[in-house]
């Protein structure tokens, strides 16, 4: 499975371009982290990739076929989407919520079958949250809800999983656990695309990075090559250092308190 993006651009009703000239290519098992300042259009880009918005120009290809030409159900069998926050109105049980990930495989006049519930249970098990299955989705914590939504995306059995700021609204421990989970998902062969405000998470994950600048252009490449002190300082307009942390065997992004 390969996701290819060519000359993608998006603008709201004759407004200025939110982003333009986006080009990249993602193979199976690769992670792409999209960095950018507030309002840089990260979520809009992710929404285009998730088939929620239709880009003005350019093309998104899944295994060589243009997304525009694929039926909705087909796209949703290939691309799973984990939104940032979801405010539920009705108190579905976690299990019933996760099984909705099977919708692309269930006909309009049909309902989830035993196999679908089994897939949902497997997804819950994979995230070690089987104990939540019977809880109401409205009554679990934000971190748990995040995991449940990821489980739903797994039940969808997609090739690519999109996550919109998966670490926002989480406490520090849950942030790190989410980053580790993303690593695991990629190792299992999912293509993962996520937006984030934390360059440190990108350093932890490695893989590919896309940096959206204020003009809405994206620089794409290997995280190790693209993420330099100079570039990050310029992007966020703060002085920062990338330092090798002894004992953890990784680089960390540390900002200065002045300048």
């Amino acid at each position: 499975m390969i996701l290819e993006v060519e000359n993608l651009a998006y603008r709201y009703h004759n407004g200025p371009a939110i982003f333009q000239d986006i080009n990249f290519r993602l193979e199976q098992g690769e992670i792409l982290s999209i960095l950018g300042t507030n309002g840089a259009g990260k979520s809009t880009l992710l929404n285009c990739l998730g088939n929620l918005y239709t880009p003005c120009t350019g093309e998104i290809r899944l295994d060589g076929t243009s997304m525009r030409r694929l039926p909705l159900t087909q796209v949703s069998r290939l691309v799973g989407y984990v939104p940032q926050i979801h405010y539920p109105v009705y108190a579905y049980s976690v299990r019933n919520f996760v099984v909705m990930g099977r919708t692309p495989y269930i006909g309009a006049f049909s309902r989830p079958k035993k196999e679908d519930y089994e897939k949902a249970d497997q997804a819950l098990e994979k995230l070690h949250i089987s104990h939540l299955a019977e809880k109401a989705y409205t009554e679990i914590s934000g971190g748990e809800r995040q995991q449940v939504t990821i489980a739903r995306a797994l039940a969808q059995e997609p090739k690519v999983i999109l996550l919109d700021e998966p670490t926002a609204h989480l406490d520090y421990g849950n942030q790190i656990r989410t980053v580790r989970l993303i690593r695991e998902l990629a190792d299992e062969g999912y293509g993962v695309i996520m937006t984030t405000h934390n360059p440190d998470h990108v350093l932890m994950l490695g893989g590919k990075v896309g940096v959206l600048d204020r003009e809405g252009r994206m620089e794409f490449g290997d995280a190790g090559v693209i993420l330099t002190e100079e570039k990050l300082s310029r992007l966020y307009q703060v002085r920062l250092r990338l330092v090798q942390v002894e004992g953890l065997d990784r680089e960390a992004c540390v900002a200065s308190m002045s300048g």
Binding site: G50, L52, V75, N96
Partner: protein, 348 residues
């Protein structure tokens, strides 16, 4: 209808669901028979049972002609209609609540019933046939619901309250149009007809009146029930549903079409009956959970039984019959306040 669950699904929840489902069915059967026996002319329970039975199986006649006539010609159509309208309103209310992601929706609160009355009144003024009246009632209902849903969109405000407010406003508008139509109607002929039509009552329904409306209730009911799993997905929100591969416009369109057709047809049969479409789905949700696979069938059973009980009350409580709407209104308003309170508590 019965979920085939893997062992891990909540066994207790399953058992509770089946108990409530069968309990609802038993309550409906009981209310149905009770409705055949209760009224000015008393027919014993067993006799009513035998009379209905004799229409299907050969049973030796041990009852009077009057009993048979009262049960079969008067009470049977009335009972069937009341049960049907109760189930239909509960189902369409539950459907609106899911597609608009709003537990405070119902055919009356969205202005659908008032819109249907306006449509029907116009058809009556134009000397339309009963088929035309029914068609116009549907068009009126659709117009109302589209108006109600569009206003919050224009305001870019998708809060629960704004939809209810616009529903009230559209309902108010429809009622004004209605008053205007009544004002211009011929006092001797049309006005009475319009008034009589919009008041509606189970008391006057006959089988020949019921039959032509039946398909426009039963068919959309069947469609909604078959597609009810999609309601779960739609109730998550537009983006969620789309990313799960659901064609939003088409699916939501089908649901709005079906539930509006059901509501308008109910108005054709029995006039505006408020609150049932709100109270029943809400209660069912509290009992069996939000999953529409379970909630809607339970709602229909409860709706039918509830409507029968209300109807029995209305015809036995005083010498002259009480209007159905009076009693549902008396029960509905405190319940509405209760839901508001619950919502408020959950948001806090």
């Amino acid at each position: 209808m019965i979920l085939k669950d893997s062992p891990k699904n909540g066994r207790a929840a399953d058992m509770k669901y089946h108990m409530i489902l069968w309990g609802g069915a038993a309550a409906l059967a009981f209310a149905f028979l009770l409705s055949l026996t209760m009224g000015r002319y008393a027919v014993p329970f067993s006799e009513a049972f035998q009379i209905v039975f004799s229409n299907v199986f050969p049973v030796t006649k041990t009852w009077s002609d009057i009993s048979e006539s009262v049960v079969m010609d008067l009470r049977f159509p009335r009972t069937v209609t009341a049960a049907l309208v109760g189930a239909a309103l509960a189902l369409s209310g539950g459907t609106y609540q899911s597609i608009f992601k709003n537990p405070m929706c119902s055919p009356d609160l969205l202005g659908v019933s008032a819109g249907a009355c306006v449509g029907a009144a116009i058809a009556i003024l134009a000397n339309g046939s009963s088929a035309l009246i029914q068609g116009c009632a549907f068009v009126g209902g659709i117009t109302a619901v589209v108006l109600t849903v569009s206003i919050p969109k224009l305001l870019r405000n998708d809060s629960t309250t704004i939809l209810i407010l616009t529903g009230v406003v559209v309902g108010g508008l429809m009622n004004s149009v209605m008053s205007m139509l009544k004002y211009v109607a011929d006092t001797d002929t049309k006005l009475a007809e319009i008034t009589y039509w919009t008041m509606g009552s189970f008391a006057t329904v006959t089988i020949p009146e019921l039959l032509p409306v039946l398909p426009s209730i039963l068919i959309p009911m069947g469609v909604i029930l078959l597609m009810r799993y999609r309601l779960n997905v739609l109730s998550l929100g537009d983006n969620e549903a789309r990313s799960l591969g659901v064609n939003l416009q088409r699916t939501r369109g089908i649901f709005i079409f079906c539930s509006t057709l059901i509501s308008a047809s109910c108005v054709c049969l029995a006039g505006t009956i408020g609150w049932v479409g709100l109270i029943i789905p809400h209660t069912s949700r509290m009992l069996v959970g939000s999953d529409n696979q379970r909630m809607l069938p339970v709602s229909m059973l409860f709706g039918a039984a509830f409507m029968l009980v209300i109807d029995i009350f209305c015809r036995t409580v005083s010498a002259s019959e009480l209007r159905i709407g009076i009693l549902t209104g008396l029960l509905g308003t405190p319940f509405f306040i209760f839901i508001l309170y619950e919502q408020n508590r959950r948001l806090r």
